[in-house]
Amino acid sequence: MTTVSEKLLTRAEETGTPGPAEPPDRAVPLLSLRGVRIADGSDGREIVHGVSFELTPGKVVGIVGESGSGKTLTCRAALGILPPHFEVTGGSVEIEGTDISTLTPARWTALRGATISAVFQDPASYLNPSLRIGRQIAEVVRVKKGLGRRAARERVLALLRAVHLRDPELVHDQYPFELSGGMLQRVLIAAAIAADPRILVADEATTALDVTVQAEILDLLADLRERAGLALVVVSHDLAVVAQLCDEVLVMRRGEVVEQGPTRAVLDDPRHDYTRLLISEHEQYGLEKFLGRPGEES
């Protein structure tokens, strides 16, 4: 099987419309959450009351909700990185068919980066300020892929190119403080895909960015999905961000999934008041007010 980065790195001259790289494998989903419940162990309070979804290759699932809705905890549970005190108290999470509650720390280490990977909101806090960019990504490549120094450098440059950084050679030798927020998020995405994961979790990955930069990062994620069949979990407080990228959407509020379904269906026929509120905010106050209705000339 070809890997994410091989596909990214070899596609250069390809033309035509890229489709999903692999037919969805229905037998074993990449990631499967079934009725996941999460509680704060310090007082036993349940915070997330049952989340279920399935991710197959090339599929994009979106979770939308305010802060405190439980969307980030849900992601963290799937990544096996719940904060201290928090625990999964019901349901199950399976990665490629393996229940993560059976994983040893060593297996987790092997899985993270290589199968499931993530980018979060504040890219600067995930980079070491005193190390050059190239070295930080090379570390991932060398540990996870066992590449030597020279091969690692080539691969890092290829990854920086794959996330559309304008001058990969320059960025390679720069320190985090020398880069803008959008560039840092690209670097983080490059590091996240360095070990060829099949699943990428993007938790508010564009929230801190300017709208024009956000669009660049969303374009990049769409690109990774199309070219490499990467499956995505996209988490955002903004329904429009999720709508733009996702096949399926979960609307969360106060730990509860209040609505779930194919994105188009949820947008066209919202059932829950909260989903209606999110939609009407856009219709009344967003650009949608001045853009044509779907199907109309705008």
Binding site: R166, T212, Q214, A215, D238, A240, A243, Y285
Partner: protein, 291 residues
């Protein structure tokens, strides 16, 4: 007019009402730093706001939007150009003159973080009454006016005895809006007033602002997010790298943006119908803008 600004609809008198503008910014330059380190935060910015008009001022990081807000509020002194508020040239005003102007309640402001506009040690009631008392309104009348104003920001009298720390973020921002508007100013500058709020509160504050327009106050609504301004603004002004690159009716700017940056901005905003531009259009627009 410079070659870089071909998309202004006659910026200076575009209010088109023939009424004296409540804010008139002309040829504003703001430079920071000494000679070699000199940076132009604003360059040749001209904008006028008519009484009762809501102007959305859009700009991303480094656009100069906060500098413009600070200059209009007298917190930054411009290098060149002028600022006229309600007929009064305030460009060279001293700190005392500015204090006077604020005291008269001509111009008010609301920041993104309501804790910055509210004194943490004052109850809601004291906070709302203060600007009236400063203007010389009698205590009893001030209390009555505060109570009468509350419904307009959809707050109940029960909150009057609370401190800002005891309120939710949405309630606090509504108090900040009420505090700015209770003196019935001519002009309110709002810097990212809804950016820190969740959807329900955002919608509520936007509705309130929309309602308040009927009272004749002019609003300058500053935001990085075109989406949060488009629905309430009569006109939209787009700042890019310290220059105003496009000004026009909200409908026109969103529906038919002309400057490449505005086109990119509109084309980048995620909407429920996907982004207004596709990936290749955006890439083409980026190529038109300086790196």
């Amino acid at each position: 007019m410079t070659a870089g600004r071909p998309y202004l609809d006659g910026a200076d008198d575009s209010t088109g009402t023939g009424v004296r503008p409540v804010l008139e910014v002309t040829g504003l330059d703001v430079h920071y730093g000494a000679r070699r380190r000199r940076r132009k935060a604003l360059h040749g910015v001209s904008l006028s706001v008519a009484p009762g008009e809501t102007v959305g001022l859009i700009g991303e990081t480094g656009s100069g939007k906060s500098t413009l807000a600070r200059t209009v509020l007298g917190l930054v002194r411009p290098t060149a150009g002028s600022v006229v508020v309600d007929g009064e040239d305030v460009t060279a005003h001293s700190a005392r003159q500015w204090r006077d102007l604020r005291r008269r309640g001509v111009i008010q402001y609301v920041f993104q973080d309501p804790l910055r506009s509210l004194d943490p040690d004052l109850t809601v009631e004291a906070s709302l009454a203060e600007p009236l008392l400063v203007r010389g309104v009698a205590r009893q009348e001030a209390a009555a006016r505060v109570r009468a104003f509350l419904p307009r920001v959809r707050l109940s009298e029960e909150l009057l005895g609370r401190l800002p720390g005891e309120l939710s973020g949405g309630q606090r921002q509504r108090i900040a809006v009420a505090r700015a508007l209770v003196t019935e100013p001519r002009l309110v500058v709002l810097d990212e007033p809804v950016s820190a709020l969740d959807s329900a509160n955002r919608v509520q504050v936007l509705e309130i602002l929309k309602d308040l327009r009927a009272s004749g106050v002019a609003l300058v609504f500053i935001s990085h997010d075109l989406g949060s301004v488009a629905g309430v603004a009569d006109r939209i002004a787009v700042l890019y790298r310290g220059e105003l690159v496009e000004v026009g009716a909200a409908r026109d700017v969103v529906g038919g943006p002309e400057h490449p940056y505005t086109r990119l901005l509109v084309g980048s905003a995620p909407t429920l119908r996907g982004a207004p531009a596709d990936r290749s259009e955006r890439a083409a627009l980026r190529a038109l803008l300086p790196a």
